[in-house]
Subunit: 328 residues, 2 copies
């Protein structure tokens, strides 16, 4: 999950001097804020600071992130077949070379302290933003395209799949130790639509990346809200499944088995409470896992801007203690 | 689900002349817009036009619905124990008598054409709005109260439970043929928190209403996003479980069995497509139900303002045809 961010005063100090996109495009600034949570929160891994929407931008879309005007947006969303055809499928190793530079520089600065996680948005989630143009409750335009212009939707999802696979391969070649595929909007689809329009493409990305990199690097698949399809997610060939907090992790483990590890799944709002309650909740998750292995302790979604960094530290400390205790 | 609404030009014509709260408080206007979908969309039942937030208002909170300023809000959200204690638990039969008047008048005007559905928000969903003060992505203040001031949270949920049960009993006594409990925000809780802070109270409401009314009236429970707990929902003693569109209705049926009926669960965005696609999707749901009984065909959530009324009619027609065909 996102680790660098507005909850850290040290991040806000950097952000005050640069626009969001300036930061994302500067390997030096990316390395700086990526390493902040390692120093300040004591996490066991760093996740590269970036944004999932740099991929559509690299494919030719104009991306706007206006300060204080809600989230990022595409002023010219994809609605026509001619726009889909025009989307570039050039290898992001070049068009997103600033991400690979940032990964290389961050790895250098980390000098082996902790592993570095790369990431991408999943095809369906990027498709949803590209067609609606911005965040939305129901992504009605994206869904309308899935339902009424299925062939065109598949064409665009296929293009995204190829670009995303190349993007992850380039991240791995630049030094990412593990990569994560985020399907933030998986949960607004019916189980059947999720399989057709999202999961099949994620499975294809896993296959392409594993083949090209000789299965060198673990892949985390996180399909928020798609707990109806945990077994199908495990069948993609990924190494880790990310869980949001709306599923009992012991039940998820029982469904998925031991071959695929789990990541998650503390309710992020628990970080608004206190060290005591954070510990209770962390211990409950740790205790419900039969064996303390095959589990990346994490939040069930990204950390939110108003969280007190002291509580983020308490979470990391509690997670480490819980599993140290279990090992004893 | 909501049936009257902005997608109908006939509703907008009434709405142009009155504020939202004026409409909700006027039995004549409520009857008029409640019956509109019966006449215009040919639905098999009417659902009383109202808002779930009239209950907190009746308990003493100031409710503001400013035109064009997002959703309704409580300018003085509940954050302190002293505020919880001050919440009135007076019987809504009196404080919300305008709803009961509206039910009586609507029943009279319907004169038996179709049954009338009453409804309420569930305790947790009302609690979330009352504590955060307005709609929110994560309802962080509400959750903070659950986690850090559990006793106070339970006190407030208990108070809401009693008021809501009385409210449904009053609606049934005024003539509602069936009542629905909406837990719109069930899906943001962990399965365990959902049981403790939401479902146990819903079960208590079902028990109180069934006891007081001699089990005269079916109760629908709709916990959006809580598909992890379908069996537990069925165990509340309700007669119908509402399903959102993120669960396969055949799988839900297999879990729940035949004792409790199902309601749902077409993805509401399908109404943005065309008659042909609406028919395909409706038939897929109808075909996946083993027997055409114990199913209230419906959307998986409320109809959205931009839907073409012609498509709403196509949905109702397709649902009726699908089950007429199956009976043959």
């Amino acid at each position: 999950m996102r680790q660098a961010g507005r909850y850290l005063p040290e991040y806000r100090a950097v952000r005050a001097k640069h626009s969001f996109l300036e930061m994302v495009r500067s390997p030096e600034l990316v390395a700086e804020v990526t390493i902040q949570p390692v120093d300040l929160v004591d996490v066991d891994a760093a996740i590269i600071f970036s944004d999932i929407l740099v991929v559509p931008e690299a494919m030719g879309m104009v991306l706007e992130v206006e300060e204080g005007k809600g989230g990022p947006r595409f002023p010219e969303p994809i609605r026509l077949y001619s726009q889909i055809k025009k989307l570039s499928d050039a290898n992001p190793a070049k068009s997103l070379s600033y991400v690979m530079d940032a990964i290389r520089l961050t790895k250098e600065k980390l000098s082996g302290r902790v592993p570095l996680i790369g990431f991408t948005g999943a095809p369906w989630t990027l498709f949803a933003y590209m067609v609606d143009g911005h965040g939305s409750k129901d992504f009605r335009h994206a869904k309308e395209m899935l339902f009424t212009r299925r062939e065109e939707a598949h064409l665009m999802l296929r293009k995204l799949t190829d670009v995303i696979a190349q993007y992850l391969i380039a991240q791995i070649q630049a030094g990412a130790d593990i990569v994560q595929i985020f399907d933030t909007w998986a949960g607004i689809l019916t189980p059947e639509d999720f399989k057709e329009f999202s999961l099949d493409y994620i499975a294809e990305i896993v296959r392409l990346v594993k083949t090209e990199t000789g299965n060198s690097t673990p892949i985390i698949v996180f399909c928020k809200g798609a707990n109806h399809s945990l077994l199908e997610q495990a069948a993609t060939g990924c190494d880790v499944i990310g869980l949001d907090w709306t599923v009992d992790i012991a039940e998820a483990k029982a469904i998925i088995g031991d071959e695929v590890a789990l990541q998650g799944n503390l309710d992020p709002t628990v970080l608004y409470t206190s060290e005591l309650i954070i510990e209770e909740r962390v211990n409950a998750i740790a205790d419900s896992m039969v064996v303390p292995k095959g589990h990346i302790f994490n939040l069930g979604h990204g950390i939110t801007p108003e969280v007190d960094p002291e509580n983020a530290r308490a979470f990391v400390r509690a997670a480490k203690n819980a599993y140290t205790r279990k090992k004893d």
